[in-house]
């Protein structure tokens, strides 16, 4: 049930050989490396995308996810390694022969062509007969609920409609893989949710293998079959949304997926797969795998989700002493920001409304730390702290600030 840090297929297991019982993956990357000048945009990466899978490349700007997508599309050439699509070696195959569909962040609709001409472009390039083009374009527009928009210019469409056209244009060629480069980031929040549901439906109905690039962890968690978390040109963890959310294998993943708090602790003991840590005088059980290279007695950081913490009366047995700093009303829940006695701030996510009156700023409280759902990492690890620094109104989110390009 644990996910691997990266999908390291041994190079010996070539597709189609008897040694490989698994079906041919839709996309396979074998040790792919990409450099831009002296900078390595993508370190050696091994990855399998299964047939029909919805795989998300998740990471902050500049983590290499867009580079990876461009390598799959054939817009960039790998400096090392091999890329397979549907079992065929395509490492040096040009983009126009790869049969992939791509939807860009800005949709990249051809401004001098009508909606129907945009959608039919790929079919015209393939020399499909005119009558068949018309039929398939109509079917694709019906799929994205844009029947009757054939003669419009892309300029006359809303952002959501433009995105549907881009999706229809990519799907109409029946691509081997559908690549989506942050397709939702230009839409407003309400439309984004609706489009996500629709995309997921279409993807499931067609069964098209999809690689989705995003920096938005909630988008990744809600849409994906599997998530590849990336940072600084490296794959940090590959796993189902639940695996990367509940069992982060890496300090970066723990901080990037979902909101987290960091509690200072020390390693008490280690026994096989499990380890015991002490948070002040609280003893908690954590996975030992993430504490590799950490000796007993050394300091560790324990990661805990805001909704896993609870607030009790100060001094109650088995709680961590803290003092309320602020209450932030979030509509469906309330975030209580508290300062730990030994320094550091944590966020407790409380459902319901009652808490507003109960905890005035300055009130001493006791924090309940759950027995499970904790992850610990060596404290000396120099990684950006996921703790909410600064004023309490700053959201306890570890999202990167700008959704810009990730080249």
């Amino acid at each position: 049930m644990l996910s691997k840090a990266a999908d390291r297929s041994p190079p010996a297991s070539l597709p189609g050989t008897a040694a490989n019982p698994r079906p041919v993956p839709a996309v396979r990357l074998d040790g792919v490396v990409k450099r831009f000048g002296a900078a390595t945009a993508l370190e050696e990466t091994w990855l399998r995308v299964e047939q029909g899978e919805f795989l998300t490349l998740l990471g902050p700007s500049g983590c290499g996810k867009t580079t990876l997508l461009n390598l799959m599309a054939g817009f960039l050439e790998a400096d090392a390694g091999e890329i397979f699509i549907g079992g065929d070696l395509v490492t040096s195959t040009p983009a126009y022969e790869r049969e992939i569909g791509i939807v860009f962040q800005n949709y990249a609709l051809f401004p001098h062509m009508s909606v129907a001409k945009n959608v039919g472009y790929g079919l015209r390039m393939r020399g499909v007969p005119r009558r068949e083009i018309a039929e398939r374009v109509d079917a694709a527009l019906a799929l994205v609920k844009l029947s009757g928009f054939s003669d419009r210019s892309p300029r006359q469409l809303s952002g959501g409609q433009q995105q549907r056209v881009a999706l229809a244009r990519a799907l109409v060629i029946r691509p081997k893989v559908l690549l989506l480069d942050e397709p939702f980031s230009a839409l407003d929040k309400n439309l984004r949710g609706a489009m996500q549901v629709e995309l997921k439906e279409i993807q499931r109905r067609l069964g098209v293998t999809t690689v989705f690039v995003t920096h938005d962890q909630s988008e990744a968690l809600s849409l994906s079959d599997r998530i590849v978390v990336m940072s600084a040109g490296r794959v940090r963890q590959t796993g189902t949304p639940d695996e990367v959310y509940r069992h982060p294998q890496d300090r970066f993943v723990a901080g990037f997926i979902g909101d987290v708090n960091l509690l200072p602790a020390s390693l008490l003991a280690r026994a096989g797969e499990r380890a015991t840590v002490a948070i002040r005088d609280l003893r908690r059980d954590v996975e030992a795998a993430t504490l590799r290279g950490c000796a007993v007695g050394e300091e560790v950081d324990v990661f805990v989700r805001p909704d896993h913490l609870a607030v009790r009366q100060a001094g109650e047995a088995g709680t961590l002493p803290a003092r309320v700093a602020a209450l932030v009303y979030q509509g469906s829940h309330i975030d209580l920001h508290a300062d730990l006695a030994e320094g550091g701030r944590v966020v407790v996510r409380m459902p319901g409304q009652g808490a507003l009156a109960t905890y005035a700023p300055g009130t001493p409280v006791g924090l309940v730390v759950p027995q499970g759902g904790l992850a610990a990492f060596p404290a000396r690890d120099a990684a950006p702290s996921p703790l909410p620094q600064g004023p309490p109104d700053s959201r306890p989110s570890s999202l990167p600030p700008e959704p810009g390009s990730t080249r």
Binding site: A95, Y96, I102, F104, N106, A108, F110, H112, Y121
Partner: protein, 272 residues
């Protein structure tokens, strides 16, 4: 109350200043146009009586007729050649990374810095050296050199306004590089190419300094013929030619505006 008066005076003088500047912009054309209709055989302002006879003379004067024809031929060749060469260089500068790119850019834009008479003189010396002096080829070459920087700028800016993702999307849909060029890049570039060509044509049609050096009796362009005329005569024929010049250029721009919109032609608005 006083303050309000102040603002009003300031506002009025501001408008007056803008009006004066605009007036100065059109003043030369205005004076020359009026002078062209002067009945008397002398270039003067204000005109004493009105007549259109200088237009008749302008259109029938042999040097002007030959000059106009030469100018049209040279302009057509020079602007078209400059467009072809300039488009190639603009694409190279915009899309490719290579050694000495900065150097190439400098060389291509250098005609902006080198005075036209230097270009003309240089080419005259060179052409005399190889025995090709005063031929049309040298005149066309001179004009290509003079207008090339403007064509490159114009095409380069248009290229900058084309989202390269459009070409990537086309490629992913199965379009080979040649078809991407034909179905995406060139159609989107067309207004830029046309504006580049138009700029080149107007500049070439008006070019005088360099042309003075490289043209001969048989190849002299209209501006050179006009210069020759004004050294001998002082009647309003020259003013009449000027008016024709203005009218032709304005007509060209009007046509361009009707078909493409001036904003697009002049690369002012680049909304997609």
């Amino acid at each position: 109350m006083r303050r309000r008066l102040h603002t009003r005076i300031l506002g009025l003088s501001g408008r007056l200043l803008v009006g004066l500047i605009l007036a100065f912009l059109v003043l030369p054309a205005f004076v020359v146009t009026l002078a062209a209709f002067n009945d008397r055989a002398i270039l003067s302002f204000p005109p004493a009586g009105y007549s259109t006879r200088w237009f008749a003379r302008a259109l029938t004067y042999r040097d002007f007729r030959i000059g106009l024809w030469n100018s049209l031929v040279v302009t057509a060749w020079a602007s078209t050649l400059a467009l072809a060469v300039g488009t190639g260089f603009a694409i190279a500068l915009k899309r490719y990374v290579f050694r000495l790119k900065g150097g190439l850019e400098g060389v291509l834009l250098s005609p902006l810095i080198v005075p036209h008479f230097t270009i003309g003189l240089g080419l005259l010396v060179l052409a005399t050296g190889i025995g090709a002096a005063r031929g049309f080829a040298v005149v066309v070459l001179t004009h290509v050199i003079v207008v090339l920087p403007f064509v490159i700028r114009s095409v380069y800016i248009s290229l900058q306004n084309i989202d390269e993702r459009l070409e990537l999307a086309a490629a992913s849909l199965g379009a080979r590089p040649g078809r991407v060029l034909g179905t995406i890049t060139l159609p989107l570039l067309a207004p830029g190419l046309f504006s580049g060509w138009l700029f080149a044509a107007i500049l070439s049609f008006n070019e005088f300094t360099a042309s003075l050096f490289v043209t001969g009796q048989a190849t002299q362009t209209l501006p050179v013929a006009m210069y020759g005329y004004v050294r001998e005569f002082a009647d309003p024929t020259l003013a009449a030619v000027s008016v024709i010049y203005i009218a032709v250029t304005a007509a060209l721009l009007t046509v361009a505006n009707t078909f493409l919109g001036l904003g697009k032609v002049l690369n002012v608005e680049q909304g997609r």
